[in-house]
Point group: C2
């Protein structure tokens, strides 16, 4: 297809598509003539992914570039690819160098060890969790395994569903695509449903 | 206690505390002399809540003001108070007036009706969920009850734990405090644990 059709079907302007090609996020089309390039479904699929990451995940172009480079490099193993993706996605919490923060970070590391979860020491989600531990403690809310268990159970059951749903023979780009979508989009689905469920449970408990 | 001690214990500067008093987020202290006011534990608890909402939830001061006004107004029923809180917290998604968006919003409304959840038509989480439906559909991911069920189950079990954990005789401010904390802070705990669980499940599945 021509770039105009690619633009129509992806919902992105020709200018934006050309920008992504220049930035290396999208491969060039095949040369169809001296002035025209030809694009296929893979271009479309990649553009849709980029659009979702930009619009829903608010992921910077530079981070999307890193993710796509790892997807295209077949020598990068799946586990490393997953780490690169998660790290690029962020969020990157600025950990201040204070004792409360260090204590919270140690609690997070101890929790992950205790659970036996295989998580890289650099995973940004460790800092994200430490940030909430600092805030919860400041508010006087206890952080205990008992208090965290419902959240761990919910998180694990959702993750098992997501990773389990990836077919063994799925192409590499599709697997990453699924991981990205479940991280960025289904994370937001979970947040929205959590708020809706809170309102429902609260309405049933407190009435009008 | 004097304002200097309140500052030490809350971790907020005297200037910030005075700003919150001027903005009506924090009641004035009791006059202890012509130039000195006296503050108590309720001031401290409120400041800790404001700090967590600002720093972790990134909630604007104007929204915090609305929430606190409803907490202080005993004539506002618990259910209405919950709605005010959720609405003030946002996020407020700008819904464009296009057919994809309208279709997604209708799907969200149908889903909530089908589940029998009691949720206000104005709940911002409806727009948040519609936003992800638009993006998922654009990426070619199916949105079916079967696909959503693991997320609904996880969200509901967490919400039941949260609302169920509020004591019947808890003071009004403490109840709201708990709802806010579970919405803003434990939502982030859930997100962080979801990412950690994804990494663990993916490591076990894909190895090194």
């Amino acid at each position: 297809m021509q770039i105009s059709e690619l633009s129509d079907r992806s919902g992105l302007t020709v200018q934006t598509i050309k920008f992504y090609i220049r930035e290396g996020l999208l491969p060039k089309g095949a040369a169809a003539s001296a002035t025209r390039s030809d694009y296929d479904e893979r271009h479309l699929e990649r553009l849709r992914l980029i659009r979702a990451l930009r619009e829903v995940g608010d992921i910077p172009v530079a981070s999307i570039k890193k993710i796509i480079a790892s997807v295209d490099d077949e020598s990068v193993g799946m586990r490393e690819l997953f780490g690169t993706t998660q790290y690029a996605l962020g969020p990157h919490v600025d950990a201040p160098d204070d004792p409360h923060w260090r204590a919270a970070r140690e609690d997070v590391d101890a929790l992950i060890r205790e659970l036996g979860w295989q998580v890289s020491p650099e995973a940004p989600a460790r800092e994200l969790l430490a940030q909430t531990f600092v805030a919860l403690r400041r508010l006087g809310f206890p952080i205990t395994l008992v208090e965290l268990r419902p959240y761990m159970k919910a998180a694990m059951s959702v993750a098992e569903h997501e990773i389990g749903g990836i077919a063994d023979d799925a192409p590499r780009s599709r697997t990453v695509h699924s991981m990205l979508v479940s991280t960025v989009l289904y994370e937001q689905v979970l947040t929205a449903l959590h708020r809706l469920a809170q309102e429902d449970v609260s309405a049933r408990r407190f009435g009008d």
